[in-house]
Symmetry: C2
Subunit: 384 residues, 2 copies
């Protein structure tokens, strides 16, 4: 099955939904806040008269569904509002587009819009009937919007998903190149590393090319996604959560609960790049200037809350139940994101047991290590 | 509850879904085909250079979900393609927006888009990567789109839904004005008729006002919705399907299966106007010229297929099972449309029994009468 058909965050608002298990992604979004603010203000205050348009096009790519989706839109609107107010300018019409793959839970997202609009009008007054929020289903590794229609593009926690599993890993001639693993691992052969790296370069290049046609000259873009700091793709910070998920699958395979063939043939359409790889693609594509590139560390369970030190206040903030261990928190977060893909490959019936085992393996790992995720935040200007 | 929160066609693709029970609406759409073609061709071929834009904005308002939603879009695209081809012009980018209330099943609709795009590219070639289809959740009785962003607006089988039940019918002082009825009936007091008529005038005026801001001068709009031919709002062709639904509810109330109070307090947010009322609102609002107004008759069960004369070929076309009676077909069609509202008022548990009784009452009625729906199709030009 194609990634477009099987990748979506868990729908609805149940126990295993993305809406209920996206605290880590929320935290990641917060790293980018000041960088988004800088980019939007800079765009609106540039001397270029082009940025007094009647309407501003804003797109959030890979918006998913749940409380995070409208959070970033709300922040961008606040910044536009405050900046225009400070400069004594009338507010332009805001064309806001929420993009994700067609399998995303847009229903859940759209049902929260009436309340969002009410709050906006209450806080900002009547002028906010000029904000038009729509949904755009489709892959951001291709064109989504008309030419020169976007002024600001944002994407958070999405661009580490590739458009496909690297084809070299799927080829029939060389089956099971990545035996027992589901992503890059210290034991993966070199061709697996190369396959992933080359798929990222192709995808990210297509992403930039598509955006460069859709954005106006001088438009801004802030992207944040999983990455790594060093050149070695086998570094723990970029792949160890997949390594442990593979361990959980292997333990099930050894007991006959998962077919070994199934495990060997699954590889995640995921890549966590390093800054140098990123810069090389941007330079080769040629339409964008990188204004800023930062790397942030984030705990696997999204914060400082551990099962021993949890307080009610903290847990209200994270949304997790107070008695969950870090491993359980991590397992719930990962499950909400990858279950659609794993269930399509391994079957839905093993999911509970898989993530139970995974949570134990993660707890064990975290009791001995403090491996963190690395989140890269990059701010771009579309060349004039 | 507000209409915006409780009105949506039945979701998904199950037995009672709108996707499986919208043959009548499909047939109604077909009445408008030649009128849509005339309007789009005329718009593209007008001497006005304004209509050589880089991108054309097209909106389908009240698109719902299911096979019909993309059918009309496909037809409009065909017309644009053929006309531009004939005139030797390059194809503009097409910004297509599918609108409905936030409770509509956009997920189902969006999941059918990848196949739609594939078919488009296969049939029309590479130039069709310039068609961008998005979803716009919200009420068309207010602004949905940025100023002057639309060139062609379409709506089918939606504008007979009012934004609310006429407030005079809901007022506490005059409860149960429309006792035992759920819409205009021959026994309804005059104030009920006036309440409905005035709500229609307000709503349709707001609809025109909003579209007039969103459309470019010279833009075209084709609307089709339930109506009536004569001035009398109590005519059977405009209200008798509601009369029979009220009979089904009354029969259940008489047996204690529905609270009488519930029946008395329910009124449908629906209005089937006559051409004169429509013209008066258009003239008063002032932004549009009516180019054409036609009335079409349609059988309640959507076609010539009756339980006695059904053939497999015909049933493949209508999508209904061959052995259904006309009453059952009508009940399924109406249920797919009104169940969300009725269930929210009367409770979900009585729905099966209600529509069973309704189908019997309709069968009985149709055995003695050939009452038809009237569909009005109106073509407009936005004044320059």
């Amino acid at each position: 099955m194609e990634v477009m058909q099987i990748l979506h965050m868990n729908k609805g608002e149940g126990e295993t939904s993305y809406a209920k298990n996206s605290t880590v992604q929320r935290k990641i979004m917060s790293f980018a806040n000041s960088i988004i603010e800088e980019a939007v203000v800079d765009m609106l205050c540039s001397n270029n008269n082009f940025f007094f348009p009647e309407s501003i096009g804003i797109a959030d790519l890979g918006c998913s569904s749940g409380p995070n989706s409208l959070e970033v839109i709300s922040e961008i609107i606040d910044i536009v509002y405050a900046t225009n107010h400070r400069m004594g300018r009338p507010l332009p019409e805001l064309r806001v587009s929420l993009n994700d793959l067609p399998g995303n839970d847009f229903n859940y997202l759209f049902e929260s819009l009436p309340e969002f609009y009410s709050k906006l009008k209450e806080e900002k007054g009547g002028c906010f009937d000029r904000c038009f929020i729509s949904g755009m289903p489709g892959s951001f590794y291709g064109r989504l919007y008309p030419s020169k229609s976007l002024h600001f593009v944002h994407s958070s926690s999405s661009l580490h998903w590739l458009s496909q599993v690297p084809p070299s890993l799927k080829s029939k001639v060389s089956t099971h190149l990545n035996k027992g693993k589901i992503y890059i691992s210290k034991t993966s052969p070199k061709c697996v590393l190369e396959g992933y790296s080359s798929q990222f370069q192709n995808d990210f290049s297509k992403f930039l090319e598509s955006r460069s046609e859709e954005m106006v000259g001088g438009g801004r873009m802030v992207l944040s996604f999983m990455g790594r700091r060093c050149a070695d793709p086998c570094t723990e910070e970029s792949c160890y959560h997949w390594e442990l998920l593979a361990q959980a699958l292997m333990s099930m395979a050894s007991q006959g609960l998962v077919e070994e063939e199934k495990l060997d043939s699954f590889n995640a359409p995921y890549y966590a790049p390093c800054p140098e790889e990123l810069k090389a693609v941007v330079q080769a594509e040629g339409s964008f200037i990188i204004d800023r590139l930062e790397a942030f560390e984030i705990d696997w369970d999204g914060g400082q809350v551990s099962s021993n030190s949890s307080s009610v206040a903290q847990d209200q903030k994270t949304g997790f139940e107070p008695m969950l261990s870090s491993g359980q928190r991590v397992a719930k977060t990962i499950r909400a994101v990858v279950e659609s893909m794993l269930a399509s490959h391994f079957g839905r019936s093993i999911m509970d047991e898989l993530f139970r085992r995974y949570s134990e393996i993660v707890d064990d790992h975290l009791s001995r290590n403090r491996t963190k995720y690395i989140d890269l935040v990059v701010s771009f200007t579309r060349k004039p």
